[in-house]
């Protein structure tokens, strides 16, 4: 789906933020967080087409929605995460629960269910996870048995247990993954069907405004018409097909929550005076707790946006990209929130300031929709195939493009990005030659290095653009400095950690120590401090003390 025009999108965002400001002040969030309470009335209002109608973004125009694209949904998810990640998760669950229908539903099913979701403000839950089937859905235990009458399949009897289902205890409608005789399949289950019952609401570390519960399905009779796609065995494909895009939403959550924490820290740092000057003037503070987080978050932002635009441009799948986006943004968000507590010192450790809650909330983004470790594995798997397919050229080709970019625009860190990509390509090739990928540790670590190098390249590209996207709060000077910092750090990691990874397993590293070009990587560090000073200044200007 193509994205909505920028003006309409931003009007929707303004409406969302205005609603949050009026209806969901921090005091209320804090109270609900303490009580572990799901604000059903707020969610219903957010789904009310006369008030907001947030969920309509996921529903095509022909079924009564507003046909949001990936970019729109990323923007809304980021905004939701800035409000409260628990509430965001409540909305997300509906998005996610609607997905199997969007992807695999027949026209009749869409007409019926999407229209109902749009007009009846239905809360939806996505029920895939089980005790033994988390990020990996292969070990499904929930069964769907045929109900046959007059030789025709008229329905299914579903039995099983689901775990950690967002909106689990409060949804009106569930999309449930179950093993049918023909293979894993999605079914639509309504809350009042006999034999269906949600379990208790979990007492969680964070996102406590989100209802999370297990589900019990005891011989629940579901009409055959509720089998999504009217064909058994398509469930995993349908689930996989949307990962590129659902993981982008979680990426936006990590970005939003992390950016909110960071901005609060930046604002605070300009008011807190220590030894005569504000904290924002001290390198020991900014260059440790502020600048690196801003750089990582903006890098992740550039990657999320590029991926969203590709999806909106009609590319399909992009599962590896979705995983890189989620992994980078959720880890960056988590790191930023952690440092924000440190940056606020004693205040940060109290519940009077929202950073403490953000820190607890944002951790979930490294867990749900595939843990960070599953992401490392997925990223490695996706790109290892490319490495083999191109006979090791994959990252060298990408590096050549970075060199070309550097020749055109030397200020965007493209040179360091190229160094990172070449080092990565060399490390992967050495791993192939020495068959090191039989060690899981090596593969996961490669996943990490791959994510960083690709994000660095993307950030360099984005920082070279003539016009920045509507989300960038920094001028060219500031954003390019961030791209340079990220590229330098990534080059250093790819070269040093890549080499160390190989040396840690193999007898020797062959020519790898030359190939990672550590001298050039180190030479590329020139100007780092000046860039960090500049970014610290730009952050201060962008997020003035209130």
């Amino acid at each position: 789906m193509a994205s909505i025009d920028a003006i309409s999108r931003n009007l929707m965002l303004d409406s969302l933020m205005a609603y949050a400001k009026r209806r969901i002040p921090y005091d209320l969030i804090r109270e609900l967080d303490a009580k572990n309470e799901f604000p059903a009335d707020i969610l219903k209002e957010m789904y009310d087409p006369a008030i907001l109608g947030v969920h309509l973004l996921m529903i095509p125009e022909e079924y009564g929605g507003v046909s949001g694209g990936s970019y729109d949904i990323y923007r809304i998810c980021e905004a939701l995460a800035r409000i409260d990640l628990g509430i965001a998760t409540g909305v997300f669950a509906t998005f996610l629960g609607t997905d199997p229908l969007n992807v695999g539903g027949t026209v009749e099913q869409k007409e019926k269910w999407l229209r109902r979701i749009a007009s009846e403000r239905l809360l939806v839950a996505y029920a895939a996870t089980e005790a033994d089937a988390g990020s990996d859905l292969v070990n499904l235990r929930t069964r769907a048995e045929h109900v046959v009458a007059n030789g025709r399949i008229t329905g299914y009897r579903i039995t099983g247990n689901k775990q950690w289902i967002s909106n689990g205890g409060v949804a009106d409608m569930y999309t449930v993954l179950a093993m049918a005789p023909g293979g894993p399949s999605w079914f639509i289950v309504e809350k009042d069907m006999e034999g269906f019952s949600p379990n208790k609401h979990e007492d969680k570390h964070g996102i406590r405004l989100s209802n999370t519960a297990g589900l019990s399905l005891d011989n629940v009779l579901v009409p055959a018409a509720n089998l999504i796609g009217m064909e058994e065995g398509k469930g995993l494909l349908q689930a996989q097909a949307v990962f590129g895009y659902t993981r982008l939403m979680v990426a936006a959550f990590g970005l939003g929550a992390g950016s909110e924490a960071l901005e609060q820290a930046v604002r605070y740092s300009q008011q807190r005076i220590q030894a005569g000057t504000p904290l924002s003037e001290k390198q020991g503070y900014t260059h440790k707790l502020i600048v690196p987080n801003a750089v990582r978050l903006e890098a992740a932002r550039s990657y999320i946006e590029e991926t969203a635009n590709r999806l909106d441009g009609g590319e399909h799948g992009l599962q590896t990209e979705g995983s890189i986006a989620k992994y980078s943004a959720s880890e960056a968000g988590n790191h930023a929130a952690e440092d924000a507590i440190q940056a606020l010192g004693g205040y940060g450790y109290t519940k009077d300031f929202p950073v403490e809650k953000i820190k607890r909330d944002v951790k979930i983004t490294c867990i749900y929709e595939g843990t960070s470790e599953i992401m490392e594995m997925t990223i490695y798997r996706g790109r290892w195939q490319e490495h083999l397919k191109t006979r090791g050229r994959y990252y060298f080709d990408m590096a050549d493009k970075m060199d070309a970019l550097h020749a055109e625009n030397p200020d965007t860190g493209a040179h360091a990005s190229a160094l990172a990509l070449r080092a990565l390509g060399a490390v992967m090739e050495e791993c192939r030659v020495q068959k090191l990928t039989r060690h899981q540790h090596v593969t996961f670590k490669l996943g990490k290095l791959i994510a960083a190098a690709e994000v660095a390249a993307c950030f360099s590209r984005a920082a070279a653009a003539d016009k920045y996207s509507e989300t960038v709060r920094f001028d060219k000077q500031g954003w390019q400095a961030m791209a340079r910092i990220f590229a330098r750090e990534t080059a250093l990691a790819a070269a040093a950690e890549g080499l160390a990874l190989v040396l840690g397993v193999a007898e020797n590293a062959g020519t790898l120590s030359d190939a990672v070009n550590i001298d050039a990587v180190q030479a590329a560090q020139k100007g780092m401090l000046a860039d960090m000073d500049l970014v610290a200044l730009k952050l201060k200007q962008a997020f003035k003390a209130k």
Binding site: P49, L52, G53, Q541
Partner: protein, 262 residues
Amino acid sequence: MNIVVCVKQVPDTTEVKINMETGTLIRAGVPSIINPYDHFALAAALELKKKHNFKVTALSMGPPQAKSVVQMAMALGADEGVLLSDMAFAGSDTWATSYALAKAIKKIGKTDMVFCGMQAIDGDTAQTGPGVAQQLGMAQITFCESVEVDGRRIIARRLIDGGHETVEAKAPVTLTMIMDREYVARYPSFPAVHGSLKKPFHVWSAADIGAEDQYLGLKGSPTQVNKIYPPAQKEKAAMFSGSGQEGARKILEIMRGEHFIE
């Protein structure tokens, strides 16, 4: 009746930053919003539309992205939108702005009421509304809290220095609105924003409204900005902390030190 509401897109002045070295405004990254007073004026107009089924046209002047405030007005219920966008308008002061808006309102057609916010938060002049009224030859009722219509009679409760008055006038009238609890400044829902794309929206240039070049922009503006600079900085406050008794004692000490009490 036909109503025109003038809405302006302004930088959120609570987010405006100053470059202290150069004394200039840093506009990058400052969000643009609908002028809050115009937001209330729009709410007042839409309330009348709901009650009397009047036609409401939203009018703005600004760069192409100012379409945003017009579209917002349409999403909230305005029937039509007009944006005056032309380099010739750039640099207009309140006189030249009023001239252009009045020209546009004449082009929109027979207008019984013009609603404006009392002032815009970026300029705080409160001059454009009366200027539009004068150029259209309309009566003006400024600083209104609430407006009622009874046939051709328009009755408004307005603020005056030290009190309130209720006034009446026959249409056509230009009204400027303060922000008051009488009206709720709403934001449009997602489907309303989406639906507003289908409403008639026009972008007009200076030529389209028959505005004469000599009255537009810097050339047509009698006032000129001579210099922009940051306001004088106050010295930092002397800070103390203390709740209850301790805080009270501190305040007494301060008031004694400043000779407000013995």
